[in-house]
Subunit: 403 residues, 2 copies
């Protein structure tokens, strides 16, 4: 639209950090420079919280070298926020935008961020302040609608799959039951990635539990016993969001139990509580001596030097594409379409309406989860494999023929 | 000694897996092949537990390609064991050795493994069965005597330092208090490695607590409050083995408390308990809203595709050197001498007596811990820096000048 006035742009990073959200940031910055109608590109420090406080840095003059270092750094380089702005909050942001002549808004985040971009655009329309409002997808959970997958997922999935490759080898060396609790309150994609590194028939994880399917404690113990009987060991990947057969998350049940049991300062609802609880159940129910449990925590979302090449490339392209869209559209969200798989893997980017992505989340499709609800299907492996890049090859000799 | 009979060799991997213990295994295998007086090299499946059960695989005929994959794989490729053999156990092993004409014994592990090599050698002497018994150092804890550092430490230290680089960036993006619990029950070397990636003045970890120095809960809270007042956030690295001002480990205190409070299946003494407890203390004492805690668990010892180049090279050389020593000596442990530091970093290997390494552990030297007991010194950084290899460079823009 030729009548759109020359103006400044702002970019923000929202929600939980990922391993490649900074690549999207750099994509936005480098693309903006190509368009003379955009004067400056501001970074909103701590996302909307910085916008409403008029807290900006100038991203226009960063050197190419600095930008490349930013692009390979995990976490959110200009800070992030968990604020969920409503219309009133957005109106305040727009006052700041007016003052600074900011008319291009790029917001990198999940479904809440898409919603923020939508509300901001709507309020701006009502104020008759013409802005361009765009959402760039980001999440380790991979739970956005429309897009084939989300930037951030491939890198987190690479970390989780590598962690399980190593942990399975560890469990082969010192056998027993090992439980790994992985991020994902509502969507099981990241937990499912635990299975991506399996190459041998008896490789772990032998059981994978995702939030999409409830599981009773008895069934859980039965599953573990079956694997133990077959292999003499068992590696389990569990989503932090798993629930029981009635759909109540175990984390919630634990927290309630904690309130009843609370004495002094002891925390039962902390990060490690679910893993420790599951380990205790297996120890008690199955009389297994060696049961260990780890909770991956923030390592899986902010580990440096460990980006998936595919993911970091796509994240950067998504940032650039949002700027290209802003030259022709009023608003929108960037989405990824897969145009080839396996060795022919490739993607195209396209625009979708903010409303299509805002607020909603996408669970794992039913065809990605096995019938028993304790593992992933080949369809999932085919879907997720191209996103992590090549995984390390390993060898275990302990099962070689005895002499 | 020319009279030493032509015989077979055995190699075992003992104790906790590491990221490079397989490189030492490959070092032993490839070096053994150079000496015609050694016929076969057996791998003892699950270490001494396999030796006593006559459970061996033949490592002589593995392809070069397989060996290279083994060398880059984390964990213990022929399995490991936590058994601590006494003289009787060793006598049984020696009966198996006699039957198989095994006279070369290579044992990769920590101080317990050095002790096993010592006992085995002593019992063999008493039985007048001539063997060569050698220990190859391995531990993520870096707590062996005599050697400058242990193979396995550099790779684990690389993981921990990278984890903290990422976690500190994550904490910059979403501020609050973050506590990371790191392996090391008695020695603080691995926890101290959390500080190796610091490049900016305000980089975390801002506090590092090692088992060598007790800390009261009040002092801990005061330390955190001081950092919060200065930076508005705080990242803390804590060893799993930290103790209070009276030298009682917090883990032990928690376990005792757990016994008192136990209702049903809830576990207070699991992996995540210490981290969750510390987070709870800070929340309660300092009224900080956002406190998070992670326990690194097994990720730090068995992560694939993440070896320190220096460490994996030295681990392999240590394996080879043990075989070279066995051509001239009756027994011994391989140790590393540092012959240059910084850019001139280099090492030489030497033989030390098994008794010098057996059973004892080395704590962090006092000059590696700061006066307050809540951080590391430049001397530690200088010591540990060459062992991890280059760490990823990162950037955070949020502190750039506001415009």
């Amino acid at each position: 639209m030729e009548t759109f006035p020359k103006a400044n742009a702002v970019v923000g990073q929202s929600g939980g950090p990922t391993g490649v959200i900074n690549a999207s940031l750099v994509g936005v910055i480098e693309e903006v420079k190509k368009y003379p109608q955009i004067e400056k590109i501001y970074g909103a420090v701590h996302a909307v919280a910085g916008m409403v406080k008029d807290d900006f840095i100038d991203l226009s003059k960063l050197s190419k070298k600095t930008l490349e270092t930013v692009a390979q750094s995990p976490s959110s380089a200009i800070g992030t926020s968990r604020d969920k702005p409503d219309a009133e909050y957005c109106a305040k942001i727009l006052e700041v935008f007016k003052k600074r002549n900011i008319r291009y808004f790029f917001y990198i985040g999940g479904n809440d961020s898409a919603n923020t971009a939508y509300i901001l655009n709507t309020v701006a329309d009502e104020m008759k302040f013409d802005i361009r409002s765009f959402h760039v997808p980001k999440t380790v959970d991979n739970d956005l609608l429309v897009t084939d997958h989300c930037p951030g997922y491939g890198t987190a999935a690479k970390f989780v799959s590598c962690a399980l490759i190593g942990d399975d080898l560890d469990n082969r060396a010192l056998t027993g039951v090992k439980i790994d609790v992985i991020m994902g309150r509502h969507a099981g994609f990241l937990t499912a990635a635990a299975a991506l590194g399996k190459t041998r028939d008896d490789d772990g994880p032998h059981l994978v539990y995702m939030p999409e399917r409830g599981i009773s404690m008895d069934k859980f113990a039965d599953d573990v016993q079956n694997v133990l009987s077959r292999l003499g060991r068992c590696v389990i990947a569990v989503s932090e969001g798993i629930s029981d057969e009635n759909g109540v998350t175990w984390a919630k049940k634990l927290a309630e139990q904690a309130e009843v049991d609370a004495h002094g300062n002891i925390q039962l609802s902390g990060t490690g509580a679910l893993a420790d609880f599951l380990a205790g159940e297996i120890k008690t129910k199955l009389k297994v001596k060696r049961v260990r449990a780890d909770t991956f925590g923030y390592l899986q979302r902010s580990f440096p030097g460990f980006q998936s090449p595919v993911d970091v490339n796509e994240a950067r392209l998504c940032g650039r594409y949002a700027v290209q869209l802003a030259m022709q559209h009023d608003n929108g969200s960037v989405a990824i379409k897969r145009i080839g798989n396996g060795d022919d893997y490739g993607v195209e980017l396209f625009r979708t309406e903010l409303k299509n992505v805002a607020e909603k989340t996408k669970p794992m499709p039913a065809e990605f989860i096995n019938a028993e609800g304790n593992g992933v299907t080949d369809a999932f492996i085919e879907y997720a494999k191209p996103l992590t890049g090549k995984l390390p090859k390993t060898e275990f000799l302990g099962n070689y023929p005895k002499v």
